[in-house]
């Protein structure tokens, strides 16, 4: 393992992220904040939704921001770099084994996902105003869960970015991302699906469910949620699965 090369690649990604900071910030935070404003503020203050919905919504918004920042940060550059600009070739020729280049992408994506998650909390809180009841019972559990969420999102980005053809990016959003968001228990707790028993079972293949439920379990335990052990187990499973698939796909792309 060549740490100098690995560090230089991380430095390159950080440099590019700094250069595109405004674009990244808008891309990461605009949509969740608009959602928070419409559902948490407009709908609640006009009486269509109860005050408690504010607290229910916030963990879901955190998980959605983290997951899509991580996926986006890894997948989109990979799709462009492998298929269009080919600029990744310079790093593929750097003195480091190909797998570590993929790991570097994952680490960079995780860092972006963690920043997104931690920044969206105060921002959303600011928009929601009074009435949000968050209690951070166990900071260590919270830290572990957001780390697992960041890993899953970055590994998911790796797997998607090395699998999707550039002409299918639109399809990826329509067929993967949109259903993931709506069946990801982000805007409602998993228990709310109990009147749709088949759907309630089916959504369990969606890793975003565990991210949202994990956030809910650690931040707003007053609402019904999946058990923390189940959340950690499932997230670990998805982390490993997506990492293995992502690494394999990356190596297939890197070496023909």
């Amino acid at each position: 393992m060549n740490w100098k090369t690995f560090g230089a690649m991380l430095a390159r990604d950080a440099h590019v992220a700094r250069r595109n900071a405004v674009q990244l910030i808008l891309q990461t935070f605009l949509q969740p904040l608009l959602f928070v404003f419409v559902f948490g503020k407009v709908m609640v203050s006009s009486g269509f939704l109860p005050e408690a919905y504010k607290s229910l919504l916030l963990p879901g918004i955190i998980s959605i921001s983290m997951v899509f920042t991580g996926i986006w940060a890894v997948a989109m550059p990979l799709i462009a770099e492998f298929q269009w600009t080919r600029e990744i070739e310079d790093r593929l020729l750097a003195p480091i084994s190909v797998g570590w280049i993929a790991i570097e992408k994952v680490i960079a994506g995780m860092i972006q996902a963690l920043i997104a998650g931690l920044v969206v909390i105060p921002l959303a809180w600011l928009v929601l105003g009074r009435g949000v009841q968050i209690s951070l019972g166990s900071p260590w559990t919270f830290a572990l869960i957001i780390l697992l969420i960041a890993t899953f999102s970055a590994c998911g980005g790796l797997a998607l970015g090395c699998t999707i053809n550039q002409q299918h990016i639109g399809l990826m959003f329509g067929m993967v991302i949109t259903p993931m968001i709506f069946f990801g228990c982000t805007y409602y707790p998993w228990s709310a699906l109990k009147t749709f028993p088949i759907l309630q079972k089916a959504v369990l293949i969606n890793p975003l469910v565990y991210a949202s439920e994990g956030m809910r379990a650690t931040l707003v335990p007053q609402f019904p949620h999946l058990s923390i052990a189940a959340v950690i187990g499932a997230l670990l499973f998805f982390d490993v699965l997506l990492l293995v698939v992502g690494l394999r796909q990356f190596e297939n792309k890197a070496v023909s």
């Binding site: 060549n2 430095a11 600009t85 310079d90 070496v255 023909s256």
Partner: protein
């Protein structure tokens, strides 16, 4: 110490179109329905063996699709061979990839520069990937920008760079970590004559520093001017190898006369063969004839007389002197530009 390059019986068969890095261009596949496509086996290399001496400028000459880029891909860890072996110096390319990557610099056929960085940052980050210290990599980046006449554009992003500027920057980047072996895949395609001459000078200068250079080209002028030894490849096979002069000496006679007649007959071909100095006569298409001969211009009057007496109207004559183009044509029956 200079480092050589060796391949032994390399074979590469693609299951689908050659992907990035190996193929000359972008590969767009029309698999819109996502159904199973019949697997097409595309052989790119068919038992290619090469032995490039340390400190040599070696050229791979061949038409598009001959397997030149795939060979470079295999030697630079980007294309895994179906069978056979490749070494850079003493190091097996596929067993000691990281070691090999330290030794090589690669200029790809199509620019793959980092569009998120400025020209100078591209060089500096490349140096960092290779573990060069901060002060040294900054100095080296500046001197390379100067050498490639890019200093003024150093702090600009690549949008707006011409093809020639990108090509120069690609070569500067490949030299950034001072590799022992430099691979250049079609380095001068698309360059204006002035830039091409600058490039040749730089390659010669790099070679004089004791480095090995392997370049691919379908430009015989470039191969002739630059390479100490050449391998001519076609359909993934090595057709001939030697110095440009040695290779040219293998063409029968050396001169090639390409003729076209109003009509031609087997008798005419026989008569042409009997002329003094003619080594080989080949009929091409319906009215064309290629003659390999020891002499060029002095044969024309005899050919014209012969044609007149046989009623075959001589309509076009082209004489070329011994060249790699003729050599290629002689070995494959195809022009390099086909």
């Amino acid at each position: 110490m200079a480092v050589g390059i060796r391949t032994l019986d390399l074979r590469k068969v693609y299951d689908s179109s050659p992907p990035l890095g190996a193929a000359g261009g972008f590969v767009a596949r029309a698999d819109s329905k996502g159904g199973k496509q019949p697997k097409t086996q595309i052989p790119a290399l068919d038992g290619l063996s090469l032995d490039v001496q340390p400190g040599e400028i070696f050229g791979l000459l061949g038409p598009n699709g001959a397997g030149k880029s795939t060979t470079v891909g295999v030697l630079t860890t980007r294309v895994r061979p179906t069978s056979g072996q490749a070494w850079i110096g003493e190091h097996d390319v596929w067993k000691e990839q990281t070691r090999v990557k330290h030794l090589i610099g690669v200029v790809p056929q199509r620019p793959n520069l980092d569009f998120s960085l400025t020209a100078r940052e591209i060089l500096v980050f490349h140096g960092a990937y290779f573990g060069i210290g901060s002060k040294q990599r900054n100095e080296r980046a500046d001197s390379l920008l100067e050498k490639f006449k890019l200093t003024e554009r150093g702090n600009q992003m690549l949008r707006g760079f011409s093809g020639g500027m990108m090509q120069r920057l690609s070569i500067a980047r490949a030299m950034m970590h001072d590799p022992q072996v430099l691979f250049l895949d079609e380095p001068s395609s698309g360059l204006d004559p002035q830039t091409r001459i600058l490039l040749w000078e730089i390659i010669r200068e790099y070679h004089q520093a004791g480095k090995t250079v392997l370049l691919t080209t379908h430009n015989m002028e470039e191969a002739d001017a630059l390479c100490q030894r050449l391998a001519i490849v076609d359909h993934g096979r090595r057709i001939a190898v030697g110095t440009p002069a040695e290779l040219k000496a293998t063409i029968p006679g050396g001169f090639l006369l390409r003729l076209r007649f109003g009509n031609q007959s087997p008798e005419l071909l026989k008569k042409l063969e009997s002329l003094t100095g003619v080594r080989e006569v080949r009929s091409t298409e319906s009215t064309g004839v290629d003659i390999y001969a020891d002499r060029g211009g002095s044969l024309i009057s005899e050919i014209a007389n012969l044609a007149a007496s046989s009623g075959a109207d001589l309509s076009d004559v082209h004489i070329s002197e011994p060249s790699l183009e003729n050599l290629f044509l002689h070995h494959t029956g195809r022009s390099l530009r086909d």
